[in-house]
């Protein structure tokens, strides 16, 4: 193992994948997370292993990342997904008018598709709205929002990474304009201490702006929450998406014995203050029922919000126009050394985000060690707790 030490702030999908990548490259890693791992946005996401089709028209960069990572994750995390594929369903004439652009987008991005007639679609998913005009099958899947990152963390631990949950970064250690570590509090004991680092990586998701400010740099991240509603029962086996430009309540992800309808989108300033607006819950039921009418009377299990870490200009109002693609900032560009931020993206693309970031980190350390996370099969999630 090299003597260089990297501290990662944030135990979400991004920080977990990065801990794994750096540990595989032989770098000493400490990951600090203020709560339980995945207690930020990651654990609360929709659980969709994206095929990329959702972004195939408007955000092709994202779409390509998704399909590539989708295929890689199937190899490195076998047994972790419900692989029933997904359908994009056209319910109205307007949806149908979107079909050509959608198919062209998927072709350009390398997303495999198969068009199904109304009858074929209803044979696969009998609860679909009988008005359905046609459907397109894509390689969507369901993931467990917590347990996939746990596999990254378990493998990282196995390779020597130190994972510290309930450990909150309170401030940065700086020498002049260089970050030299973090000052943390261990909430399980109340003790505060310093952790020295050659490089600190901010993987704090929608909190990234707050963390960056501690080091005196500005990161343009806008927390953009969405509401999700889980109902009892599986109304579908495949992921059901509305064939149209992305909108509210247009995806139903089946998972275990639940169906999860999502999502909406707005912007807030504080990712710790997310309410679950009543009208958004109603909207999820309404929009979900346009695709699967029986959802209208489904019994609710839970409704909650999670905040996307969207990169973009401040002042946006709906959050939907911001890019879904991730960004890695080397803050040397703003005159602060030893400090990198990785944010944006999706849980599906966490491995790719980690690869990009780890490339930046090893280059900054003057090393040349290639990424191996495309091939290495991850340990089971239970190994996170048993090591």
């Amino acid at each position: 193992m090299s003597s260089y030490h990297v501290v990662i702030i944030g135990g979400g999908a991004t920080g977990s994948a990065l801990a794994h990548d750096l540990a595989l490259r032989g770098i000493r890693v400490t990951l600090v997370e203020r709560g339980e791992v995945t207690s930020g946005t990651t654990g609360r996401h929709h659980g969709l292993l994206h095929s990329g089709a959702r972004y195939a028209v408007k955000d092709q960069e994202s779409a390509k990342e998704c399909i590539q990572e989708n295929m890689i994750l199937r190899k490195i995390a076998p047994g972790s997904f419900e692989l029933n594929d997904g359908l994009f369903v056209a319910i109205t004439e307007e949806d149908l008018a979107y079909y050509d652009d959608f198919m062209e987008g998927c072709a350009v991005c390398g997303i495999p598709t198969r068009t199904l007639s109304r009858e074929e679609a209803l044979r696969l998913e009998p609860n679909l709205n009988p008005e359905v005009k046609l459907a397109v099958q894509v390689p969507d899947g369901t993931m467990d929002a917590m347990r996939l990152p746990l596999r990254f963390l378990a493998t990282a631990k196995h390779n020597g990474a130190v994972i510290k949950p309930y450990t909150e970064v309170l401030s940065f250690l700086m020498e002049g304009q260089t970050v030299t570590g973090v000052h943390v509090r261990d909430h399980t004991s109340g003790k505060e201490y310093d952790i020295g680092a050659d490089i600190v990586v901010n993987a704090a998701g929608p909190w990234a702006e707050k963390i960056a400010r501690m080091a005196g740099v500005d990161v343009p991240v806008q927390p953009s929450p969405g509401v999700l509603v889980a109902v009892w029962g599986r109304y579908n086996n495949m992921v059901i998406n509305r064939l149209h430009r992305s909108g509210d309540g247009d995806i139903v992800v089946p998972q275990r014995e639940l169906s999860i309808i999502g999502t909406s989108s707005w912007v807030v300033d504080d990712p710790d203050k997310l309410d679950v607006p009543e009208e958004h819950i109603r909207l999820m039921y309404e929009k979900g029922a346009e695709m699967i009418p029986a959802l209208k009377h489904a019994k609710m299990r839970a409704a909650w919000s999670a905040a996307r870490p969207l990169i973009g200009s401040r002042g946006a109002t709906t959050g939907r126009e911001l890019s879904r693609t991730f960004k890695c900032f080397d803050h040397a560009d703003e005159g602060v050394e030893g400090f990198v931020t990785i944010t944006g993206g999706k849980a599906t693309t966490a491995r790719a985000m980690a690869e990009t970031t780890a490339d930046v980190v090893v280059r900054k350390l003057g090393l040349d060690i290639p990424c191996r996370t495309r091939e290495v099969v991850l340990l089971p999630h239970t190994a996170y707790y048993t090591q």
């Binding site: 709560g35 339980e36 791992v37 995945t38 207690s39 990651t42 654990g43 609360r44 659980g47 047994g79 972790s80 997904f81 419900e82 692989l83 029933n84 594929d85 198969r114 044979r123 696969l124 998913e125 009998p126 609860n127 099958q137 369901t142 467990d144 929002a145 917590m146 347990r147 309930y166 509090r185 909430h187 399980t188 004991s189 109340g190 889980a230 029962g233 599986r234 579908n236 086996n237 089946p254 998972q255 275990r256 014995e257 639940l258 999860i260 710790d272 203050k273 679950v276 009543e278 299990r301 839970a302 409704a303 909650w304 999670a306 089971p380 999630h381 239970t382 190994a383 707790y385 048993t386």
Partner: protein
């Protein structure tokens, strides 16, 4: 929505403390507020040192298990006002080493549970008449058990016999017997066919009562016993 003030009596403990104590907080809640949301509000607005476990907020990850008014629940799907008590007492799970406040160490739970080698994905029994899409081998879904440990906390036998395999692991073994998916069944049956295995259970079903995820661990233990008897008599599983 109407708002109401509710008192929370919260179990507190930090590493190095000689003994735990309780702190009291008042939280404004509405008809929808869950115990988890109330605890997050306490941490955000009143005491940033409160340690809680949570992740999915919809009864899927199993991290937010705790005892609310003495009963094992998932905090994320426990509605505060529906509890109907002016004071809500919140304590960590039992039968697991305490880390801090409401958080216990799940290491021992997973040590036992993982020995069942339960695959995470199973055949889905939902929509049996639906056709399976081209390229998909069969309809699949995640196992119901969310590894929350509520059953282990509620089990009186775990409390008195530290070596008892406990309801979650035994239920997981039954799922493997039902649908082996490549896992070898006989060694697992040997594992549970023991003094600290499925014969230790008292069948009072406290575990099934608290299970939030339709596993019915007590019922699975009964099924395991029947399977062992059947095999002892030389009858095959069916």
């Amino acid at each position: 929505m109407s708002e109401q003030k509710v008192t929370f009596r919260v179990f507190r403990y930090k590493q190095g403390d000689t003994a735990p104590h309780y702190d009291t907080f008042t939280v404004t809640v509405n008809e929808r507020t869950t115990v988890l949301e109330a605890l997050q509000a306490i941490r955000r607005d009143q005491d940033g040192t409160l340690v809680i476990r949570h992740s999915c907020h919809h009864a899927s990850c199993g991290t937010c298990g705790m005892r609310v008014n003495g009963k094992e629940v998932l905090a994320c799907v426990t509605n505060v006002l529906e509890l109907g008590t002016p004071t809500v007492t919140v304590e960590p799970l039992q039968n697991a080493p305490l880390i801090s406040d409401l958080v216990v160490d799940m290491g021992p739970f997973y040590e036992t549970f993982s020995q069942a080698h339960l695959p995470f994905v199973r055949r889905s029994e939902y929509l049996p008449d639906a056709e399976v899409a081209e390229g998909v081998p069969f309809h699949m879904r995640f196992e119901s058990c969310i590894e929350c440990g509520l059953c282990v906390s509620a089990c009186p036998v775990v409390a008195s016999d530290a070596e008892y395999l406990g309801p979650a692991a035994l239920a997981a073994v039954w799922r493997v017997v039902q649908e082996p998916r490549g896992t070898e069944v006989p060694p697992l049956l040997d594992w549970v066919n023991s003094e600290h295995g499925c014969w230790r259970c008292h069948v009072a079903l406290e575990c099934s009562e608290v299970c939030p995820s339709n596993v019915d661990p007590g019922g699975n233990i009964m099924a395991l016993r029947q399977e062992l008897v059947r095999r002892a008599l030389g009858l095959s599983h069916g």
